[in-house]
């Protein structure tokens, strides 16, 4: 029975949607989160579930190169980046909490609204009986993207903004694997490499800001005007 499930497309589709929903919930949790370290861990969990989605899609569509993408995501986003950021947080021993510009209940409400927007936009794409698994994942991807964007606006701390940017790219990755079973491999590699370098560069910048401005509060960087 289990074996049959493994090959039943219907079941695969339901798994992918379940995992996609889980990723969305984690994203909203990240919005409501107050602590940097917890923020990093939720991001790691989210990336883990993403790689699981990639794996299931690869399994059901017999597309080997998606496995590589899943593994890479696992390595980069679940292990490397979180460790880098946590060491950064420890070395700079800044206060750990994030003071969001918009208070938590309102920001959760807004993310709900954004999810709605995601679905409204994606709604025009649904062609009944489209082949392939997570075609309804586009709505989730768009809402992930919008919520990630909103969290960036909502954060004062530099590191929190970087994390929001990375979660935003998670949304893109979901769109890539679910809609088109992953981009050509070269592109996947290019994207992942750029995400990694971006994380490192932004880390260095955050470190420099911490040194010169003595606080991670980016909103105080307002000297260039007009």
């Amino acid at each position: 029975m289990l074996m049959r499930l493994l090959f039943d497309l219907q079941f695969g589709d339901r798994i992918v949607t379940l995992l996609a929903a889980l990723v969305l919930v984690l994203q909203i949790a990240m919005v409501a989160q107050g602590w940097i370290v917890a923020h990093i861990r939720i991001f790691a969990a989210q990336s883990f579930f993403l790689s699981m989605i990639a794996a299931t899609i690869a399994w059901y569509n017999h597309a080997p190169h998606i496995y590589i993408a899943a593994v890479l995501t696992l390595v980069v986003k679940v292990i490397l980046v979180p460790i880098l950021f946590e060491r950064l947080v420890v070395r700079m021993e800044i206060q750990r909490e994030i003071e969001p510009i918009v208070n938590v209940p309102l920001s959760v409400l807004i993310s709900g609204g954004l999810t709605l927007v995601g679905y409204v936009v994606a709604e025009s794409f649904y062609r009944p009986g489209a082949a392939g698994l997570g075609h309804n994942a586009l709505a989730v991807a768009i809402s992930l993207f919008l919520i990630g964007f909103f969290t960036m606006i909502n954060r004062r701390k530099a590191l929190a903004q970087v994390l929001a940017l990375l979660s935003l790219e998670n949304g893109l990755f979901l769109a890539a694997i679910s809609l088109t079973y992953g981009m050509p491999l070269i592109v996947e590699l290019g994207v992942l490499f750029d995400v990694l370098v971006a994380a490192m560069v932004l880390g260095i910048l955050v470190y420099r800001i911490r040194e010169t401005v003595e606080s991670m509060d980016v909103s105080r960087l307002r000297r260039l005007r007009g």
């Binding site: 597309a63 936009v121 025009s124 794409f125 991807a141 993207f145 964007f149 960036m152 530099a158 903004q161 940017l165 935003l168 790219e169 949304g171 893109l172 769109a175 890539a176 809609l179 088109t180 079973y181 981009m183 050509p184 491999l185 070269i186 592109v187 290019g190 994207v191 490499f193 750029d194 370098v197 971006a198 560069v201 932004l202 910048l205 420099r208 800001i209 010169t212 401005v213 980016v218 960087l221 307002r222 000297r223 260039l224 007009g226």
Partner: protein, 497 residues
């Protein structure tokens, strides 16, 4: 074959300056490297003119006249800026602008960072112009952003850090939107045969089958691409990073950013415009482009009128010019596209010249605020003063200079196409910008000498200044035939012939 050589030379330059120990080696490496790049670019242009398109690695690298033009412009700007940066960085070193209490080793490290990142920056810009695969093109643009972040943060002051941070974050957000757009475009082309192969996302392939692409997803993709690459091009309302980045980065990198990088961002936008145009018909994308173009021109007018810092003034002028080029793209048609391509060429020359003059003035007066200079630049630095005024008049579109020709073509396209309101707004904003630039830059350059010290000889900087000024004057009256053939070829590509 030339495409690979082009990339190899710039990569080699980056490596050479990374491993070099003495400053002169780095300078020489850069100079020779970029000269080589320029030479190869000219050969590439010759080949493109001969065969129409040059491709390599079964379509992975693809260069038609549009990309050849962008490569040529990037190479020429890089060459001029490398000669300028030699004099510029030596003066910075002498005057301690690099960082007040830096030991020699640290200063060399600082210069090394500059001399390695610039060729890397140019490498990725070249790569981007010849990448056929849209995903790879996106990765290259992302890489240019990453390379230039530390160029913006070169001086390490608090303000340049703030500028770099904004440049990175806004750029990052913009490019993630562009990536989303690329993915959706790929999804739109998903139903085509053989789309999952490596060439599925190739622009040339998609361009041929554009008609069969899925309409709604192409519409969503175009919006996201417009916002994404619009951020890199500095279209309003995503322009906010530009004035900060341009006023804090070192002058040679600002010159490259403001001309070459702008062309590459527009190159990406044009590639998608061609796809969207064929798939959705020209009507839909041109409305969006006109909206954003006019918005950018409109937004830059008040900032130019009430500006206190001349480098930020030039940044807003380049926001206006990206608005002009996007409007020209929106207008389309034979006149609009030819106007766009001419404008891209002339703007590259004029804008980089303007920034180089601003650099000369800043290094002598040690400030970039109009209030502190109080006029008299013409009397203190005659050559820079005259060239600065000339470049300002060119950028603003005064007729003896060539930008008027391209703006005239664009306006003619607007009025012939029935977009009378666009034309009237275009001229209104142009006059506003003209008034602002004239009052501020004219006020700074003209006027009595005051008590500023005389200026010392500056062979490198004035040499590159004169070269560009000569190019500006010559191109006003005579365009070499092959260059015009390249430009009209590029215009045809944009029109989708």
């Amino acid at each position: 074959m030339l495409l690979i050589v082009l990339l190899l030379i710039s990569a080699a330059t980056a490596a050479a300056s990374f491993f070099a120990r003495r400053r002169t080696v780095m300078e020489a490496a850069n100079l020779v490297g970029f000269a080589g790049v320029f030479a190869v670019a000219v050969f590439l242009v010759a080949q493109v003119l001969a065969h129409g398109t040059v491709s390599l690695g079964n379509g992975f690298f693809y260069a038609d006249s549009l990309s050849a033009l962008v490569i040529l412009l990037t190479a020429s700007v890089a060459l001029v800026c490398s000669t300028y940066s030699i004099g510029y960085l030596r003066d910075d070193e002498r005057s301690g602008a690099l960082g007040d209490d830096l030991s020699d080793a640290e200063q060399i490290a600082q210069l090394r960072m500059y001399y390695t990142l610039t060729p890397l920056f140019v490498f990725f810009m070249m790569f981007l112009s010849m990448a056929n695969n849209l995903g790879v093109m996106w990765a290259a643009i992302e890489a240019t952003t990453l390379a230039s972040i530390f160029l913006v943060n070169f001086y390490g002051r608090v303000t340049s850090l703030e500028a770099a941070w904004k440049y990175a974050i806004i750029g990052g957000v913009g490019l993630s939107m562009a990536l989303f757009g690329t993915i959706i475009a790929y999804y739109a082309g998903h139903s085509l045969a053989g789309s999952d192969a490596i060439s599925g996302l190739n622009w040339s392939v998609l361009a041929q089958h554009a008609a069969q692409l899925d309409k709604t997803s192409m519409r969503l993709a175009f919006i996201l691409i417009l916002l994404g690459y619009g951020t890199k091009a500095g279209l309003a309302p995503m322009h906010t990073w530009k004035p900060d980045a341009y006023s804090q980065a070192p002058i040679p990198s600002t010159a490259i950013l403001s001309s070459a990088m702008l062309n590459c961002a527009l190159y990406g936008l044009i590639r998608f415009y061609i796809l969207a145009g064929r798939c959705l018909g020209v009507e839909y994308p041109s409305h969006l482009l006109l909206l954003f173009g006019l918005l950018s021109m409109g937004v830059s007018v008040p900032f130019v009128l009430a500006q206190k810092n001349y480098r930020r003034l030039l940044a807003y002028s380049s926001i206006e010019h990206s608005g002009i080029m996007v409007t020209a793209l929106g207008l389309g048609g034979p006149l609009g596209t030819l106007g766009l391509m001419l404008h891209m060429t002339y703007h590259t020359i004029a804008k980089s010249l303007l920034f180089l003059c601003a650099g000369n003035v800043q290094q002598h007066y040690r400030t970039d605020m109009f209030g502190e200079i109080k006029g008299g630049v013409m009397r203190v630095m005659p050559l820079t003063g005259v060239v600065f005024l000339m470049a300002m008049l060119a950028v603003v579109g005064m007729p003896p200079f060539s930008l008027f020709q391209s703006e005239f073509l664009i306006l003619r396209a607007a009025f012939d196409g029935g977009h009378v309101l666009t034309g009237v707004l275009f001229i209104l904003f142009g006059t506003g910008i003209f008034a602002g630039m004239l009052i501020h830059i004219g006020g700074m350059i003209l006027g009595p000498r005051g008590d500023t010290a005389a200026v010392e000889r500056r062979p490198w900087r004035n040499g590159s200044l004169l070269a560009l000024a000569a190019a500006l004057v010559v191109i006003a009256f005579w365009i070499p035939a092959p260059l015009f053939q390249l430009i009209s070829g590029a215009a045809q590509v944009v029109r989708g012939q």
